[in-house]
Amino acid sequence: MTVERLADWLANTNPGFFILFAALFVPFARSNIVRALLLVGGPAVALVALINADGLSLNLSTLKILGYELVLYRPDSLSFVFGLAFIIASALVGIYSLHRRDAMQDSTAMLYAGAAVSAVFVGDLISLFIMWELTAIASVFQVLAPRSQDSVRAAMRYLVFQISSGLLVLAGVCMFVSATGQTQFALIAPSMAGLPVGVMDIAAPGAVLILAGFGIKAAFPMVHNWLQDAYPKTTETGAVVLSAFTTKLAVYALARYFAGLEWLIWIGAIMTVFPVFFAVIENDLRKVLAYSLNNQVGFMVCAVGIGTQLAVNGAAAHAFAHIMYKALLFMSMGAVLYRTGTTKATDLGGLHRTMPWTTLFCLVGAASISALPFFSGFVAKSMVMSASYADPALFVVWIMLLFASAGVLEHSGIKIPYFAFFGHDSGKRPQEAPFNMLMAMGLAAALCILIGVSPGWLYRFLPYEQVAREYLASDLWTAPHVLQQLQLLVFAMLAFMLLQWRKLYPAEAPGLILDVEWLWRRGWPMLTSALSAPMRQLGRWAGGQAGLINGMVGGLARQAFAPNGWASAKVPFSVTAVCSLAILGLVLAIALFR
């Protein structure tokens, strides 16, 4: 009885809530074992709950607030794949950070993960907004965790972007809700092939605002800097945590609400291309990863924009795979950071001697992101490429994606392992990463390989399972496909070696590379310092207009009525007498002549 009820309860509760709930106890966990139990147990329960979810029944769990129905749990195949990825990532992160004893960071990381998981499973705009903001709030602590002046400032910038995103979503949601009264995505528009994706018409009230909000979180071009700004400033675990959830949540939201929106194709295409240039010259390897993250998300956004069943599958699959291998890459860089204190390419090299396992896992991650066949990237990215290739109108896009693939291969697949673990010997001989890190990396690497070798496992979970199966059966392993990818790989490798050999590889800029970030990092202070004088003026005005009036009127009045002023000088009675005569004359004149 109780077991049944427990199972029922588990099946009807948003899995994210378990993680959130577990997170609340983390700060109070004194012993390592309890901590480990919480960090891994929370996601584990969530996983159980998710797998137990009884199909796609709607409105499993609703709550009425202020007259709006909040759908707290509404799983379907789209959210399932994202949720699964998030839960796994959350567990990996938990394991990865076990060596640290930072209650704040652990608990907020878990809150963050929980909020992200919850976000993909809630069924309405308001709940989405709440979870959206929760991820923002919880994630900022990852940026703050190093506890330096720098990180505090970066955190503020990060938070401003995240909250702006949330506020745009809020504004859009409010506008949409007030116009349509509808909050549940499942009821907004007819589903595409039985699955509610791309439910929102861009012409709907507030839709543009919502899209902009999603866009910030997805790090659309021009508003992407928070990502490159914040991620490299985190602790070794922080970047791992951050890389897993935020942008992918945005991708999920874009897919859910805006799949098929043509703008997204182009935005995504641009996103894939432009980080390549920065990534190539960037010195800080974690920042390189951040750029590459941007680029990878571009693929997903592009796929969402294409919006066919295959494309949506591709986006979801790529997101899943990406979470794993990007986490793996960040973990390996985190291990390097943890052991050497830096991730600057110029300061590293030759670490494979003492950190073999880390090197191995990093290579798995690099292979995955490079979409080497039999690694997870290949399985996912192919689907996106095929989707874009399928539409002749998108040929240019396909070319762009191809170029970006080469680029990512170059900077993430080759540059990172090469500079960190091989390349010129920096002389550093750090210890191998701690066991918990290795374990997390190992699990992630195993997943990357598992998916790459046996894509059916992942494809099962994809939104359009049937389409995915067909793709697996007929397209994935075809020769041209595999060959094309291998060619790309080989030529990129050759190019890299050639350039390196001829010393033509662009030098890593040792300083800070500012792109549009300039606007925020330099422009904002300039703006504020330019505005501060008028603002202070404004403040003085706003605070002191009472004093101003007081000064003007009071001054005049004081002149007149002060004891020696003209209006209060003692009037001799003769004047009063004359006044009385004058008044008499006045009244007389009025009375007589009117």
Partner: protein, 497 residues
């Protein structure tokens, strides 16, 4: 005398009685403060009983006197007032707890007068909350001004006296020049000033007269600190922190917006408001207030002043809510009144706790302090989130409702101001907690604690309680909103799709 009348009478006389008793035992601080706490608890119980009765559809009413025909001192509780009373009385208790620590920690002079004035202020607040007509409201509204004056000038310094003068002149000046004329106008148009569901003036005035009255009444309630009548609020920050906390975040300023809400709901009514051009003008003014005050807050280094400017901005939210030609705006306003109060009192208590422990009152002095005062700054952080309107803080709901109502009534300008102000609040509030908690130690003038042992425990408990309340109310918003629904004659259950 039935139970309802007795309850109202109790709510009014309890603070008075407490004031007298505090005066009597003024020489014994322990007894005095115990007495204050007992009174707080008593008043809270009474207020909650009234709250419950109103919820059961049995609103207490009481008529005390009728100086002139048609001009009665009368009380009649409605949901908004009951909520206001509960909020004020409960927070009085919390704040008293805080005050004990603060005042002792600072070794402040004239503590007996301080507690007496607080009790008297509660008397004013109860009267305002339960008033059955504008005249009665005005009566207690003025009383509140006068009894809080000694609190503003508590320090007795020339600066405090100057601030006190600004306080009095602005508040009473606006009352006399604007509010009272407005009341008289209402009386002469409608023949009474009784708060009537659906709007006393509805159908009795034309757009021009209604607009003038609305302007008079809204700006006359200068406690709502709508620009340009906001100057008193930042300058009143010379007062001790508990005063800023309870009065200038909760009781006094909320009395102002409460008056605005009451006027909107019961004197004009949503139907009339929607036809008045002045409502739109006020909305613009409020939007300006929201943004300008937030911008000014950015430039302030003094923590309490920064918070005060934020209050100016937040109060304009409620004023906006009252002016929206949409019934649900009123509910949003009522909710925001409460949620903001809880958050702002936390912030002020934190500021006080910092000051009492370290003597620091500037944002630039608090870097790294969070390591030694984690609870204070975590509470500060939580309350900051609430001010910005982020989940899981209750203020998110009111802001959400408010923005929805703004869009729903086509006032995108207000919505934009709300959004912008949220972002600005983020920018001026977050760095405070971040710098304290996450900057390396010794960033600012950390130094030794001025008071050995740091923040007094009672103060700490108080601010943690309210910080927690910010979160708890997030979950409890639904019953509160349902409770308030009658004031706007809307039911969320029915009107919402």
């Amino acid at each position: 005398m039935n139970g309802g009348e007795l309850l109202i009478l109790l709510a009014l006389t309890l603070p008075l009685f407490a004031a007298a008793m505090i005066y009597a035992v003024g020489r014994m601080p322990d007894v005095r403060e115990t007495l204050t706490l007992v009174a707080c608890i008593g008043l809270a119980i009474v207020a909650i009983s009234i709250f419950v009765r109103v919820g059961q559809g049995d609103p207490p009413a009481l008529t005390v006197a009728e100086p002139l025909p048609g001009l009665a001192i009368a009380f009649r509780v409605e949901p908004l007032g009951a909520l206001f009373a509960v909020m004020a009385s409960v927070l009085w208790g919390v704040n008293s707890l805080f005050s004990i620590g603060y005042m002792r920690g600072r070794r402040e002079a004239r503590q007996t007068r301080f507690y007496i004035c607080f009790a008297l202020a509660m008397f004013g607040v109860m009267g305002i909350a339960f008033a059955a007509n504008l005249f009665t409201l005005f009566l207690f509204y003025e009383a509140l001004t006068f009894v809080t004056y000694p609190l503003v000038t508590h320090a007795g310094t020339p600066a405090a006296r100057r601030a006190g003068r600004v306080y009095l002149v602005t508040l009473v000046g606006a009352s006399v020049l604007l509010f009272l004329p407005g009341i008289i106008g209402v009386q002469s148009m409608a023949g009474s000033t009784t708060f009537t569901p659906g709007g006393l003036l509805n159908g009795r005035v034309d757009a021009a007269a209604g607009s003038v009255l609305l302007l008079l009444l809204v700006f006359g309630a200068a406690k709502a600190a709508l620009m340009p009548l906001h100057g008193w609020l930042p300058s009143a920050m010379v007062a001790p922190a508990p005063v800023s906390a309870l009065l200038h975040a909760v009781a006094v300023v909320k009395a102002g917006v409460f008056a605005v809400l009451k006027v909107s709901a019961y004197i004009f009514g949503p139907d009339l408001i929607s036809t008045l051009p002045a409502a739109t003008w006020i909305l613009w003014m409020a939007a300006g207030s929201i943004v300008i005050a937030s911008l000014v807050a950015l430039t302030k280094d003094d923590l309490k002043t920064r918070l005060a400017w934020s209050t100016v901005s937040q109060l304009a939210y409620v004023t906006s809510a009252a002016m929206l030609p949409m019934a649900s705006g009123l509910v949003a306003g009522g909710l925001h009144m409460v949620f903001h109060a809880v958050a702002k009192i936390t912030l002020f208590m934190c500021a006080g706790a910092i000051y009492v422990a370290t003597g620091a009152n500037r944002v630039s002095e608090i870097g790294g302090l969070g390591r030694r005062m984690p609870w204070v700054f975590v509470a500060f952080l939580a309350a900051s989130f609430a001010i910005v309107g982020l989940p899981p803080m209750a203020a998110m709901w009111s802001k959400f409702l408010l923005i929805t109502a703004s869009f729903g009534s086509g006032e995108w300008f207000t919505a934009a101001a709300l959004i912008a102000s949220s972002l600005l609040s983020l920018v001026f509030l977050m760095p405070v907690a971040f710098r304290a908690l996450f900057s390396p130690a010794g960033d600012g003038a950390g130094g030794e604690f001025v008071r050995p042992g740091g923040t007094p425990v009672t103060s700490l408990v108080a601010l943690c309680v309210t910080a927690a309340a910010c979160v708890v109310l997030f979950v409890a918003v639904e019953p509160l909103a349902d409770y308030l629904a009658p004031i706007a004659a809307v039911s969320f259950m029915e009107t919402a799709p």
